[in-house]
């Protein structure tokens, strides 16, 4: 149902964002954004939404 997990999972936030840094996503205008570029000039707060709503 709903693609739910059968067993309770643990969150696993990393100590370093190295794996995140290599990920490239598209922004709301379709432009490529490499996540590592977001913090190259200073700290960034990233917020992952459950869904757009």
């Amino acid at each position: 149902m709903l693609g739910v997990a059968k067993e309770r999972q643990r969150t696993r936030p990393p100590d370093r964002a190295d794996a995140l840094a290599e990920i490239t996503l598209l922004d709301h205008e379709g432009r490529k954004v490499r996540l590592g570029d977001l913090w190259k000039d200073g700290p960034v707060a990233l917020v992952w939404l459950r869904h757009y709503g």
């Binding site: 969150t11 936030p13 922004d27 709301h28 960034v44 917020v47 869904h51 757009y52």
Partner: protein
């Protein structure tokens, strides 16, 4: 979505604020327009960054259990309707979270959701971000 209202406070502290959602760039653009959000919104249809951030997929209980429903209703009531359940796009059981990353790539703070009602408040994220920027 309350976070975008704190944008100026993040900017004053020298911290960028970026939202990431499940979906396409078009859906991200619609989300920005609908909620009048003047922030970058990234589209992660494959949920690649969710996995790399250590976010989890919820069980039925973590989505619809009494704790999640009760806390969700309380938050919605306290926000006078500003916080509400919207249309689900993407994986319905994927939970989100928040993270502050320093310039050197270290994770200064994180709060990944344990259930559907467990979200860091804008004030908590801002406080963590200010500490990391100090």
């Amino acid at each position: 979505m309350q976070l975008h209202r704190a944008r100026s406070e993040f900017e004053a502290a020298g911290i960028s604020l970026v939202l990431i959602g499940q979906g396409t760039p078009r859906q991200a653009a619609h989300f920005r327009r609908r909620f009048e959000i003047d922030l970058p919104v990234l589209a992660d249809e494959r949920r690649e960054s969710y996995r790399a951030a250590g976010a989890k997929v919820a069980t039925v209980g973590e989505l619809l259990g009494p704790r999640s429903v009760r806390r969700g209703l309380m938050k919605s009531a306290r926000s006078r309707g500003a916080i509400r359940q919207g249309k689900v796009i993407g994986h319905p059981a994927q939970l989100g979270g928040a993270m502050v990353v320093r310039r050197d790539g270290t994770v200064a703070w994180s709060h990944m959701s344990e259930d559907a009602s467990d979200n860091a408040s804008p004030a908590e994220i801002l406080a963590a971000a200010r500490t990391s920027a100090a």
